[in-house]
Symmetry: C2
Subunit: 339 residues, 2 copies
């Protein structure tokens, strides 16, 4: 059986194609009786509206686009994808993924083209694209609906979903302080990821709150990678006196710290406490298991998708949301050795 078209359905049901269209699109003004006839014909012919035709005529494609930077953090991207799909697929939307180099000078053009060419209905932006002012301006200008995940700039210009990085980081640092740590080092995240910078701010605030000076020599600039974590750890562990705790802005870097500590025979958490951020799969596979912060990545993606779909349906008065991260205390942190 060849693919059925709207005409086939209309003929079988003995109505016009417009009526079929009404039924399929759940529009009002169709008698229940007529609707049933049409639905029966649809079922009989296994009719599925052709999306290209729909897109061409109606200017929508039922495809969403997910934009993210490369190289991205794998687990994060996958979590986002799953979150988005779990919401959009039940509502008939599919997902096209578009990882992109956030420093590519043609990025803006590329994204606008993609959206127009494929007739993508709306976009979801994740860091660091959530903070790309050029992209945001272009999308607004082209009136392409979009929602941002964890933006830090121009929050008012679009719907977004965020989490409380600052607070979680503050809390983690306070907890280390409560364990008696004072020489708490921090490894910053990649400078291009503004969202990650909130973590540093939370750390600093907690120290200040507890009257502990923020020592420059205990802060290193990482790049979110395992290797950069290793490098920063070597520098930090060479300081005299050594820090008794190292808080890394993500788990990969924390894993690097742990490796260096192992290599240098520094006991964790006996001699050194290590904390990460993200609760990636590696966090509980490490030995000892890593104390970290769990972000509600999937939930953020779900919420963002929900907002986007509502926006597409013309709902108004939608409001951006914030979802809480939570501390996951495992075995890599403990009382300060000198406490």
């Amino acid at each position: 059986m060849a693919k059925a078209t709207i005409d086939d359905v209309a003929e079988l049901a003995g109505v016009s194609i417009k009526t079929v269209s009404r039924v399929v699109n759940k529009e009002p003004n169709v008698r229940p009786q007529t609707r049933d006839k049409v639905l029966a014909a649809v079922a009989k012919l296994d009719y599925r509206p052709n999306l290209s035709a729909r897109s061409l005529a109606g200017n929508r494609s039922y495809v969403l686009g997910l934009l993210y930077g490369i190289p991205g953090a794998n687990y994060y991207v996958i979590d986002i994808q799953e979150g988005v799909l779990s919401i959009c697929r039940p509502q008939g939307y599919d997902l096209l993924i578009h990882p992109c180099n956030h420093r590519d000078e043609n990025l803006v053009k590329e994204i606008v083209n993609l959206t127009h060419q494929k007739g993508i209905d709306g976009l979801i932006l994740t860091p660091p694209l959530s903070d790309n002012a050029d992209v945001i301006a272009a999308l607004l200008n082209s009136k392409i609906p979009f929602v941002r995940v964890a933006p830090t700039i121009n929050k008012e210009v679009s719907l977004f979903v965020e989490t409380n990085d600052w607070e979680a980081s503050y809390e983690m640092t306070c907890q280390l302080i409560a364990m008696g740590h004072e020489r708490i080092a921090f490894i910053c995240g990649h400078p291009d990821h503004l969202a990650v910078s909130h973590r540093f701010e939370g750390y600093k605030a907690a120290l200040k709150k507890n009257n502990i000076p923020v020592r420059k020599e205990l802060v290193e600039q990482g790049l979110n990678s395992f290797v950069s974590g290793e490098q920063c750890a070597r520098k930090l562990l060479a300081k005299e006196p050594r820090p008794t705790a190292i808080f890394a802005a993500n788990d990969d870097m924390a894993a690097g710290v742990m490796l260096v500590a192992h290599q240098q025979g520094i006991g964790i958490p006996g001699e050194l406490s290590v904390a990460g951020y993200d609760d990636t799969p590696v966090a509980h596979q490490l030995w000892p298991s890593l104390t970290t912060v769990r972000q509600p990545v999937q939930q953020m993606a779900k919420k963002a998708t929900d907002l986007l779909l509502k926006q597409l349906r013309g709902k108004d008065e939608l409001s951006s949301g914030i979802l809480s991260s939570s501390l996951i205390v495992r075995n890599s942190t403990g009382p300060a050795p000198d406490a």
Copy 2:
């Protein structure tokens, strides 16, 4: 500037829309001079063909679909995605991802519908979908072009790309034997992933080749997860005498083994050698770093995409390919303690 259409270009270039179409689609029979005029107009107007229209009229969408099972191994999925995108995007194709439950009874219908509705030009299947006979039959029946990654059944019915799991596993086992190990345990992968079963076969073959009996009590059935690795490890490490090496069919399970060994104070590699498979990011973040096998995942994805695109262009005489995996020897394996 509103979106330019083919008519705008035709008008500006002073030709018919058909000529524009010819130029854009690189068809023959256009005078270089005419072509240049058209290209100039295209550039001036920043014309991009509307894919929906193209799809509707020409029956292709320049969108490929990637099918994979959920829950999938994150790193694997991301690698596949990157590989596919790196090949298809430069050629003007985008990618729609469609993770699916490979045991869902509506799976076949879902996939065929997806393909038809979105007008997807071709599909790439990864394990365990590569081995789903129903899906394969339906795709063949519907004449939907597709390529499979690492299939084990009905290889002859479609193009595919695979790697030498058996050989790599054989080699790894031989290496352990060469280090003096005889009591080498094996943790099998998830039974639904046939591809993983080759790893077990390679292990058995290596033992036999070296006249070491395959002991049933040294083989456990895992589920590809970290937790299942832990469980299997507890069982294996309780045997008397204990195995001196454990070879897990993937890294996550190997990480589980290492955790249990740490907990029980068993030195790695002094008292126990551990080997994994996949070379996931965690492999070099563990302590000690994990000996494993690196699969050419991205390259397989690239090759598969290349084959699919060639197939779409009607090229014939395409042949499936095999790409080699390689042993990555790190610090979790060493001489047998009793050697």
